[in-house]
Symmetry: C2
Subunit: 347 residues, 2 copies
């Protein structure tokens, strides 16, 4: 296993000794830093579904390692049976988080690599190598995003971020927080305001934790305080990740859309940092079904009851920020200023 840039394990990796996918259980942070081993596909699917691992790029690696795990576990004796097993695994993996495009991307990439195999052992080797390549490339990708994005942060800036588009959302370094890390690596002093990101509090639980590990100054606020913080002049820019970028919108954690409107109102730049693997070239706002999550997430906060047990709840996982609210999309292929055509990104 690799050690990350910050001397902690990477967010997700393959353990050769136990032939399993190992990952940091993010539902336990910040109380506990625990590595879990997924030795079966169902345990990995459970980990994805319950957000033990989350974040678009990390889910890409999870998809890839998931197929490698399925190949490792399959008892198939011939290529045809093996392919059938992997297709079942692919379906199971993809259905855990239907909105997360990177998950499917990682699954499909590793599946595709299988065509190079001559036998089932080859499938096992190739899927694992391909999944590892995804992980390696993700780190390289995030470093590129950081390199391209750092110029937008000035020495002394305070960046407001939502959810966790950090190291723990990726294999390492981070997308939005990777830009912060790269700016700091260039010698700039950067502070972060982390929105707690209800209802699952990825901001308060994960973003603050990973920044504090790196001794990057971070202040926690409730999501509803973002507008007031901007009004008070506390925010120089907004920097978020993305779960899916279509021609017209950026799908990201619920609350991102609100921040984009607040940024526009206060004339603060609004940046999206994401790898091009997040681009959905055929999708539009209307073509993507937004996952509605369990009402219990708003009725309870862990052990704490917050609302009447039978109250009706509206709990979309994501929202869609119109491209016209976005100042720039920072990717591993460079920076794009809306409006732009997605196709041009890959030229």
């Amino acid at each position: 296993m690799f050690t990350s840039e910050s001397d902690l394990m990477r967010t997700i990796d393959w353990n050769e000794e136990s032939n399993s996918v190992v990952l940091v259980d993010q539902t336990l942070l910040p109380q506990e830093y625990k590595i879990i081993e997924c030795k079966t596909l169902s345990s990995l699917c459970e980990a994805i579904k319950t957000l033990r691992i989350r974040g678009a790029p990390a889910l890409g690696a999870a998809g890839g390692f998931g197929i490698a795990l399925a190949a490792s576990l399959s008892g198939a004796k011939d290529l045809e049976s093996m392919t059938r097993d992997l297709k079942v695994a692919a379906k199971a993996l993809k259905s855990t988080r239907p909105t997360a495009v990177n998950l499917g991307w990682g699954v499909d990439r590793v599946l595709k690599a299988v065509s190079d195999a001559f036998d089932v052992r080859g499938v096992r080797d190739i899927t694992l190598q391909e999944a590892r390549d995804i992980a390696e490339e993700d780190v390289a990708t995030n470093k590129l995003i950081g390199k391209y994005g750092a110029k937008f942060l000035k020495d002394g800036d305070t960046v407001l971020t939502h959810c966790n588009a950090g190291r723990l959302a990726c294999v390492d370094w981070g997308t939005a927080l990777g830009v912060v890390r790269s700016a700091i690596a260039e010698g700039k002093e950067i502070k972060v305001i982390a929105c707690e990101t209800r209802p699952l509090n990825q901001g308060s639980r994960i973003t603050t934790w990973e920044l504090m590990q790196d001794k990057i100054p971070v202040t926690l606020i409730a999501d509803s305080m973002a507008g007031w913080a901007m009004h008070q002049g506390l925010v120089d820019s907004v920097l978020v990740g993305a779960d899916r970028i279509t021609q017209d919108v950026v799908f990201n954690k619920i609350g991102t859309y609100t921040h984009s409107i607040l940024a526009k109102e206060h004339e603060i730049p609004f940046y999206v940092a994401a790898p091009v693997s997040t681009f959905d070239f055929k999708g539009w706002e209307g073509s993507v079904r937004i996952e509605m999550r369990d009402p219990e997430e708003l009725r309870f906060s862990g052990c704490q009851q917050l609302a009447p047990k039978d109250v009706e709840v509206y709990n979309p996982a994501f929202d869609a920020t119109p491209m016209e609210n976005v100042t720039a999309v920072i990717t591993d292929k460079g920076v794009f200023y809306p409006p732009f055509l997605l196709d041009e990104v890959l030229v």
Copy 2:
């Protein structure tokens, strides 16, 4: 004690048998509906400080009953000593929530009435009567707010509200939710979207509970979902209360400012419902110190740890919504459309 319109006790009242202030402990809702008795001034101050009782109009009554309680408890034998005791009590009461103008208003009103007393017994009678008058008038005031405001809600409308400007924020009926109740009393079907209102979740804990008691349809959302709910066409108007209204801004629970910007962006009317006792005729945005609350409110949600224990936190209790973001201020003296001069309200 009075029974409220909904067959539950009023939010705050005087118990003649025990000579104490009785109130619904709102920190226990929705798990438990519990009445607590404050037999000492310090227990009442504690109840105000820890938000067992909250909401601008209810705090007006709490201030009034607090002085009556101090008069009841004072061992003073002469008017001079009694006045001194009441001034000490007034200071203690006001310091519990410095931003809440109604609290001081209730305290001062009852203190002023003392000048009519000839002896200490008279002080006790007069302060209690004056405090009771505040409570009675609050109910009448809210009914008037409801009457003036109901016309803004159309049959079938969905109203988004923040925090709790309901029956439990007042002695009875409510300000913002009083408008909803009055519209429903006129035969209209009105639905409410309640923002949970982090960090203390008055929306999820109290607003949903009191509306469900009255069988008014309510859907709970996270604060960060308000913008997206508006974008999806789910919101016809925003209706909030106020803690303090100056010439230029409306001070209300943190998050209100953000909702006002979202409403403007989506061309949705933004209404503030509050009694004229909330008006601060001499104040301006810059003249009011916004209370910064305990960082622990964001690090924990009851028993649930949400963030690293030593994370830095920004936790303002209120924000200030510019009057130009407000469509109308609905008061017991009628409806005012910004820009207007506060002085004209009382003409």
